[in-house]
């Protein structure tokens, strides 16, 4: 009488599971070890539905198909944990700012706060202009974007980040891209997955990038991690705390996590057991808690802001109704929120600007809405007008500033006098604008820059 070894028909552990041929005692020992080591959350999900795309990336690099832009020591990475307990390296230095389309126009205080914080920490960065929109707006808003063009644009921008340091005579790869926009962040991660899975897509994109001269040794350049600025803020939150000058202890804050940040490619999003027991995406929430604010949960935490891409363009009735009724109203009525903190351009614009028209239907909530970086800058003493530029926001913020102990009237007077200086041509910048162009027709090599 013989019996067969288990054949691996049990696919509860995924198609990759094979019988090990271990003796029962060995198997038991191995299982005990695994159970002790692996994050519980990882055990509780059906793993064959969630793969770590980076493993595929390493295989393709090994096969000589792609080059991976690595996060190196110069980037001073901090390791964070994502949904399934995987590790993600977040670079904290030598960063290349990938700006957001809507951010600079609608919420200028948003990028300026990021740069201001980086200046404060003495972080080296490059805020160059040779970058394009990710064009995911087309993709989500009208459906006319196609995967080939989106993937090509993704790699084109990240290639520019890779080579940009050459303009300063530094080796390629010195600067690592930091994505400001939530939609770009989600879109790039989605495109990376498609690229890793489809040889056909890689081939088409390779042709396009070849024409643009944006291949590395004839290969596609893929970033090791796609990093959102809110992740940078998250891993920097304890250092930010060291520079905090404003007490946030009596502040009730609500968080609006962006759909494109945490719902798209969710396995890559940071969850932290010290932030709401790992039950909420950690970015922004972790920062606010570290700064001492009370983060209040509310029942529509999961919901979209109402931006909806299609809707903000063609059906704003929906956007404004959703934003007010499903988010702002709930945050005020339920959580008695003093401020709502977001981390994506579209969300903050939607949640802030639509509050004004709420007056038309007597829905007046006056809840200040801003990005986590703006709040962090305020907490570290940034000027509410000159730097955080809260006057661009539609909902009133004066009460909030009073609650934070910031004299807004004095700040406003300073700002008005500064405006006169600006009119006379005396303005301050966070960054030498001449450094912002590193290649292309507008590029002028600066004195002191070394030849590449």
């Amino acid at each position: 009488m013989t019996h067969k070894e288990p054949t691996g028909d049990y696919n509860g552990f995924g198609p990759g599971w094979k019988a090990t041929g271990l003796t029962p005692a060995e198997a038991r020992r191995a299982t005990d070890w695994v159970e002790a080591k692996i994050d519980r959350r990882a055990l509780l999900v059906n793993k064959d539905r969630v793969e770590d795309i980076r493993e595929r990336m390493w295989e393709l690099e090994k096969d000589g198909e792609i080059v991976v832009h690595r996060i190196g020591d110069q980037h001073e990475p901090v390791v964070a944990r994502t949904l399934y307990g995987w590790e993600k390296k977040i670079p904290t230095n030598s960063l290349w700012h990938h700006k957001s389309c809507g951010q600079c126009g609608n919420i200028p205080g948003y990028p300026s706060s990021i740069l201001w914080l980086m200046n404060k920490f003495g972080i080296r960065y490059l805020d160059e202009t040779d970058q394009t929109s990710c064009t995911a707006w087309n993709y989500h808003g009208s459906g006319i974007g196609n995967v080939v063009s989106l993937a090509a644009i993704f790699l084109r921008n990240f290639h520019q980040a890779y080579v940009s340091a050459q303009a300063q005579g530094l080796p390629v790869g010195t600067y690592y891209p930091l994505v400001h926009c939530g939609t770009s962040f989600g879109n790039y991660k989605e495109m990376r997955i498609y690229l890793m899975h489809s040889a056909e897509l890689r081939e088409q994109v390779r042709k396009i990038l070849g024409k643009l001269g944006r291949l590395v040794d004839g290969k596609l350049l893929i970033p090791e991690e796609i990093v959102h600025y809110s992740e940078w803020l998250h891993v920097m939150r304890h250092r930010i705390r060291e520079h905090q000058v404003v007490d946030c202890g009596n502040l009730r804050a609500t968080i609006h996590p962006a759909c494109h940040v945490y719902k798209m490619v969710p396995e890559d999003v940071i969850y932290d057991d010290t932030v709401m027991d790992g039950n909420r995406v950690a970015v922004s929430t972790g920062l606010m808690q570290t700064l001492g604010a009370q983060v209040i949960d509310y029942s529509t935490w999961y919901d979209c802001c109402g931006f909806g891409f299609r809707h903000i363009i063609g059906e704003r009735e929906f956007t404004r109704s959703f934003a007010i009724d499903r988010k702002i109203k709930v945050a005020v009525d339920e959580a008695r929120s003093d401020v709502m903190i977001g981390h994506d351009t579209g969300c903050i614009t939607t949640l802030d600007k639509n509050q004004w028209i709420g007056r038309a239907v007597d829905k007046v909530y006056e809840l200040p809405v801003m990005a986590d970086c703006q709040f962090a800058a305020l907490a570290c003493g940034a000027h509410p007008y000159k730097l955080a530029q809260l006057h661009w926001h539609a909902s009133p913020f004066e009460t909030l500033l009073e609650k934070l102990g910031i004299d807004w009237q004095q700040a406003k007077a300073e700002f008005e006098s500064y405006l006169k200086d600006v009119a006379d041509g005396r303005f301050e910048t966070l960054y030498d604008p001449k450094r912002a162009i590193t290649s292309g027709p507008g590029f002028v090599r600066q004195q002191g820059d070394q030849a590449a």
Binding site: G314, E315, R316, S321, D325, R326, R359, A360, V361
Partner: protein
């Protein structure tokens, strides 16, 4: 920016100002339009019990939502909103607000009994429709429907005399619903008939209008029926949590 799928939104959920100036800005029309929420936020726990307490509604609790009633329904075939299956669901889980949206057509059941014939759970949907229509009236959600007015005229005559004289019912119905008795279509039909009827017959019809047909020795039955109706009426009002004065039942 118009709402693209406006047909999917109930008109009462669109809040719109055709002309509005807000803090010096013209926000007329689309610029200030809001879409109200349609979220269900609670159930009326009493609804099923109340309707089950009215004659005809007794078996509503048996329904399993197979839809046989609506499939066979005579009225549904000409009015898609008339959906007994759906209303029974609403009543059973207590979505009063949703039911009230259809309050003005709910009474239109023609009692063809196809639903009751086909219902595998013996819910007697036809009875439920009657009970629900009465519930709407008793609760004051709708005025008495023409059907109820007709039924009442008709029933009252029977209760009073034991018989019915159709002409009288017709006249009283038209009077109490505020319609002219001389409906053009009715008139032309009667003229056509009268031209063919012999004088004796006409005389008989006329007499019956004056000498109303009666069942003899009816008074004791009438008293017993009246007594029963009063008691039933009180019981129904109690079941519907109405005070003695409320409700419009017979």
């Amino acid at each position: 920016m118009p709402i693209h799928e406006k047909s999917l939104i109930r008109p009462e959920n669109i809040i719109r100002h055709e002309s509005m100036n807000l803090q010096g800005v013209d926000v007329s029309g689309d610029w200030s339009t809001f879409i109200g929420s349609r979220t269900i936020t609670d159930y009326n726990e009493d609804m099923q019990d109340e309707i089950a307490a009215l004659p005809g509604g007794e078996y509503i609790h048996r329904c399993w939502q197979c839809g046989s009633c609506t499939n066979t329904c005579t009225v549904n075939a000409i009015e898609a909103r008339f959906n007994p299956r759906y209303w029974i669901y609403l009543i059973r889980i207590g979505l009063e607000e949703e039911l009230l949206r259809d309050k003005d057509i709910l009474w239109q059941c023609v009692s063809c009994n196809k639903c009751t014939y086909t219902c595998p759970r013996d819910v007697v949907p036809e009875g439920v429709m009657k009970a629900t229509a009465h519930w709407l009236e008793l609760k004051g959600h709708t005025p008495d429907s023409p059907s109820t007015i007709f039924d009442r005229e008709f029933s009252n005559q029977i209760f009073a005399t034991g018989k019915v004289e159709e002409g009288r019912v017709l006249r009283r119905f038209f009077a109490s619903t505020g319609q002219a008795l001389r409906q053009p279509w009715l008139e032309s039909m009667v003229i056509g008939l009268v031209s063919r009827l012999p004088v004796k017959m006409l005389l008989r019809l006329g007499l019956s209008a004056v000498l109303r047909p009666k069942t003899r020795k009816w008074s004791k039955s009438r008293a017993a029926i009246t007594d029963y109706l009063q008691q039933q009426g009180r019981a129904e009002r109690r079941a519907l949590h109405l005070s003695a004065g409320e409700g419009t039942h017979v």
